[in-house]
Amino acid sequence: MDNLQLKKIANEVRRGAITAVYSAQAGHPGGSLSAADIDTFLFFEEMHVDPQNPKDPDRDRFVLSKGHTAPALYSVMAQKGYFPVEELKTFRHLGARLQGHPSMQYLPGLDMSSGSLGQGISAACGMALAGKIDQKDFRVYTLLGDGELEEGQVWEAAMFAGAKKLDNLVVIVDNNNLQIDGNIEEVNNPKPIDKKFEAFNFHVICIDGHDFDQIRAAFAEARNTKGMPTAIIASTVKGKGISFMENNAGWHGKAPNDAQYEQAMGELDAIAASLA
């Protein structure tokens, strides 16, 4: 799939994510938009997954460790065909399969329940370990927020992954520099992120998380890295694609009102038109 097609899908992923949050009048748009390009690449290029066979024991796995950005995950899953795009409007509603944070008990295709920060990466390590024990070729991907790196468990898991040489594991950090209380460097600085993962025996690749050439190259490099896990530190823009949400911590966990939703859809329509 070429970059133009990926960009088109990513734009639809953003549209679905914002529609989900708007329909729920709750949820996390900022980090969903920053991760949308990475999510799109993972589900449409990188991972061997089949929406018709979500329990395939040989499938690649994805764990959204930053579980609050479920709107983007659900949206990319809908685009991929796991469920109808229309279902995104049920996000966070009573009785919905699209719970506020991902729950594998509710929705087939989710490889792990997540939402409590720091925990997803450990589960991803466990899956990667299972692959090693069973000598399977599947790969495990987990997406973390940069604020999430403040959780100590992330580093327990990173130490484990490095120590056990889990080269079938790729940790992606959505480094948008913002968390709820503000700039990550002002709240409780997790930087330098790359040097930390290097110190935990990861192969580290730093990229622009909105550039599909760089995303593609990074995952290829990860695939060719043997004997150690890979961490892709993706520099991103929180709220990417919607002007008034970009680089604004206030849009971490807030739903747009009617006028804001209309404006957001208009901006995404314009992007779609420019890609046509």
Binding site: R61, G126, M127, Q153, E156, M159, F160
Partner: protein, 312 residues
């Protein structure tokens, strides 16, 4: 019971894992730098390719277990009860309980019989914590025979199970051919005046107490509750209806453990006078396990005295 063979249930855990490892290749054992203490070292020696030491990082170990289970393995995550249920509570709740993953938690060194290490390591709250997690099975075996049966039953059961084992050698008294079933309690001695419902190491103490109570003309019924959750309501209600008086005995806080569980059942379904024996609302302290069992009133003599006072 001085001449009876004594074995610590952590020892039983280790040997049961070793036996299971030979018949079930899906079993993976995790530990957190305590393999000699939890006795997972036996499994590690036999099956090094299925044993992983996660180091001193219990929260992560629970997540590793969750991921292994999500990929079809049957992980046994092992550490002290304090860290399994306390340190890693939220990982157990959110990464294991919420997705209802097939993880087995082997929690050793539970209760005050940890002994000399003192209160920082004497977990008297673990059953209360684990009982609150929806779908979590909580097992607290009373001796070597029951502990081994528990581990095997846990491996066959699909879903999360918390198993509680002790450091201290305790009498082996169960029938070697006992049929263990998750969720079923057992009447070990029938009686008509009072029911002593016991769990873990207090089951042997309760049997001892019942013998002593005979001399005072008190005919006590003794029930062993290994499955603290889901608890055998039917058995409890039947016995409470018969005797009209229920005493619980456990090496755990009287808040939220067996005493709490029995009170929840009986207060709603068969209101009965109750007395809870266990660790009062306080921390433990250093001492030998034997000294602490006596000081905290969990030996047969202490239980008999409390039951006698309660019945009169």
């Amino acid at each position: 019971m001085g001449d009876i063979k004594k074995i610590a249930t952590r020892e039983s855990y280790g040997h049961a894992l070793e036996e299971l490892g030979a018949v079930n290749s899906n079993i993976v054992v995790l530990d957190a730098d305590l393999k000699e203490s939890t006795r997972t070292c036996y499994f590690a020696k036999q099956f090094p390719e299925r044993f992983y030491d996660c180091g001193i990082a219990e929260g992560n170990m629970m997540g590793i277990a969750a991921g292994l289970a999500a990929a079809g393995k049957i992980p046994f995550a092992s550490t002290f009860a304090m860290f399994a249920s306390g340190r890693a509570y939220e990982q157990v709740r959110n990464s294991i309980g919420y997705p209802h993953l097939n993880v087995k938690i082997g929690a050793t060194h539970a209760g005050i019989t940890v002994g000399e290490d003192g209160a920082s390591h004497q977990c008297n709250e673990d059953m209360a914590l684990m009982r609150t997690i929806p779908g979590m099975v909580v097992l607290n075996p009373s001796d070597d025979i029951e502990a081994r049966a528990c581990v095997k039953a846990a491996a066959e059961y699909v879903g999360p199970v918390y198993m509680r084992f002790g450091r201290y050698a305790v009498p082996v008294f169960n029938d070697p051919d006992m049929k263990f079933e998750i969720g079923k309690g057992q009447i070990l001695k029938e009686g008509k005046d009072v029911t002593i419902v016991a769990t873990g190491i207090c089951v042997a103490s309760a049997l001892d107490a019942a013998e002593q109570l005979k001399n005072e003309g008190i005919d006590a019924e003794v029930i062993n509750i290994c499955t603290v959750k889901p608890i055998d309501e039917e058995l409890l209600i039947a016995s409470a209806s018969k005797t009209g008086k229920v005493v619980t005995a456990e090496e755990h806080s009287i808040i939220g453990g067996l005493g709490g569980a029995v009170a929840e059942v009986l207060s709603e379904k068969c209101p009965t006078r109750m007395c809870r024996i266990g660790i009062e609302d306080r921390f433990g302290e250093s001492g030998t396990a034997g000294q602490l069992v006596e000081k905290y009133g969990l030996d047969g003599k202490s239980i008999a005295a409390k039951v006698a006072a309660f019945v009169k």
